[in-house]
Amino acid sequence: MTRRPFLADWLNWQAVVAFGFVVVTGLAGGFAGSDYFLQIMVLAVIYAAMGTAWSIAGGLSGLLLLGYISFFGIGAYVDGLLFTKYGVNPWLCLVIGAAVAAALAWLIALVTLRFGLSEDYFAMFTVALSQVLKYILLNWEFAGRATGVYLTVVKDDFATLSFVDRKPYLFIALALLALVILVNYAIQRSRFGYYLAAVRENENAAEALGIDASRAKTGAMVVSGALAGMIGAFYCQFATFIDPKQVFSLATNFEMLLGPVLGGRLSIVGPVFGAAFLKPLQDLLRGWLGGEADALYLVIYGAVLMVGILLLPKGFAAYVEAWHGRRYGNP
């Protein structure tokens, strides 16, 4: 009996391609790369990581987790405040940020599931919560209120995740992306992944089969939240300046969801390549149209968005998957 080739499995293939992307991007950024492109690339990788992390709760689990930036912002502030006020090592802050965000996610899951918030209400609840966090931080003296938190980095210091050069940030961002891809892959391969899929497809049927839907959904949210918190903490070190309006921005929130939606939120390649394509496109388009033509940029961007979503309702990953099926002769 012959075993199927490793790559004939859609999930395996995706993982290889996604990790391949990580490697190639690392090489591209490492060998060449002006600071301008590095800056764009790091942001693209951050968005890719956020999108892939969101897909766990928003794609695999089918939760309408619309207000995702809450976790990102919390992670950013955890790093910003712990580092600048208490000198906590930023590498450690990546973990603490993840933990705090995970706690928040668990709380939200607990509360919304207990009180039975259904889909659309759940979505609006998460959106409102992100703004509640924004307003709390805007008014919190310790967090700098509207002046935010800033870091001054004038020399490279690996120990404190502070770099003058953009390249190390790219490598670390890629490492985080690789971690997120790994987690997503591992979940999809595991029994937990099957539970999530079952709950997504038909919650009642899943429950009838003995799956604890609440537990599954909570788990998905906690994982997604934790990853976002970690990425947010990294973002603070990268941007060196954060304020509430920036890291809890609804505009940014929706931008981060574009990758998985246009890419295909049930896949891994979808969010990764979706963000890798869209975010640089956005930055380059804005740079190309010139600083003052931002209005035109908004019109084009909005139009492209609508057309893209209408033409790719399941994301482009659906087409890739179909091609993959034909290519590897899958039934």
Binding site: A28, T147, T152, V154, G287, G291
Partner: protein, 420 residues
Amino acid sequence: MSARAFHPTRRRFVKRATALAAGATLSGPWVRLARAQGKEVKVGFLLPLTGSFAEAGQLNKQAVEMAIDEINRAGGVKSLGGAKIVPVFANSTSVDEANTETNRLISRERVVGIIGAYSSGATISSTVIAERNQVPYLVPNALADEITGRGLKFVFKTVPHFSQFATNSAEMVQQLSENAKQSLKTCCLVRENNFFGNVVGREFARFMPNYKIPILKDNIFPTNPTSFEDVILSLKKDDPDVVFAAGEPSSITLLFKQLSELRYWPKLGWVGLGGGYSNPITWANLGKLADGLIVVNDWFPDIKLAGAKEANDRFKKRTGKDMLGNANTTYAGVYIFKAALEKAGSADGPKIREALAALDLVDGPQTFMYERVKFDQTGFMPRSTLVGAQVRGGSARVVWPTALRVADATWPVPDWTKRA
């Protein structure tokens, strides 16, 4: 089987990755273009050209264009062979965008210097990028003290520290009240919950006790409120002699409408601090509601300084607006940078930086604003004093300090019922 597994059919991602790599490579270090090529020298300008500060950003842009036109018509930068200055504008509406654009200005556009970025947050983060690329960065339009307080060598700031808004405002109201033989005992703050507002609150809390003007209440309002009645009712209750306020044009427009609707006015007067209060578009939108408003800023066209009126007239002729809202400081900033270029005689970052650090200008076009241009070791240019002007009929005339005033202040400012 393994040969098949690694069959190069992953065209899509290879293509995309190659594109990324190619793009990155093309602007790599071995494709360096000379910075001041031929008769041109590029200078980057970071401004909020869109978003909530777009009005100010666009006004600053016009000021830059006017300065550059004048410089180029007068022969450009002589020590660089008459090279013309070419402005490269970039948007600094958000911190991320400012960072990305700063990188673009430095890596792709190869600017010899950057001037910007209006919003303190964007300036704080983008100056770090300029610092490590050794590109001089002149800040003529962002106020945060932190900009020059971090030991960065390539950053220079011409606008005052926040603390001066507190100290000068206090001195001004004390003197105005003395002259009018009015008693000044208390004040209240009304400020927006944004960067500028927060720092104003901090500085006023720090300095008002020194001047023995206790702050009865620090009223903070959120950005984009639909109504101010809570602030106004609180002011009515506290009944201060003077109100010190900071905010953006949108909030001020609404606030003043409601002030007149709810019929509240402080006993002596309302003092607006910089920002939206010094924006003539705000005064125009408010119409008669702005009459009597006192604004504290670094300069006004109607001031007793040589060249002030002429510079403003030129600007007004060109754009139809007064040179305010930092358009003046940015305009002066371009000239200051040009002076540094002349002095350096080179397009090399560190050399221009040295020139900026060594500048000591007492004449030149920027004297319409600055009697002396000299930066201290932190890159900050100390100013003797801010000025206060009173708005009437859509324009402001300087009323304080005495040396620079062109009109007498109406103080106390009559309340709504007593106005025409």
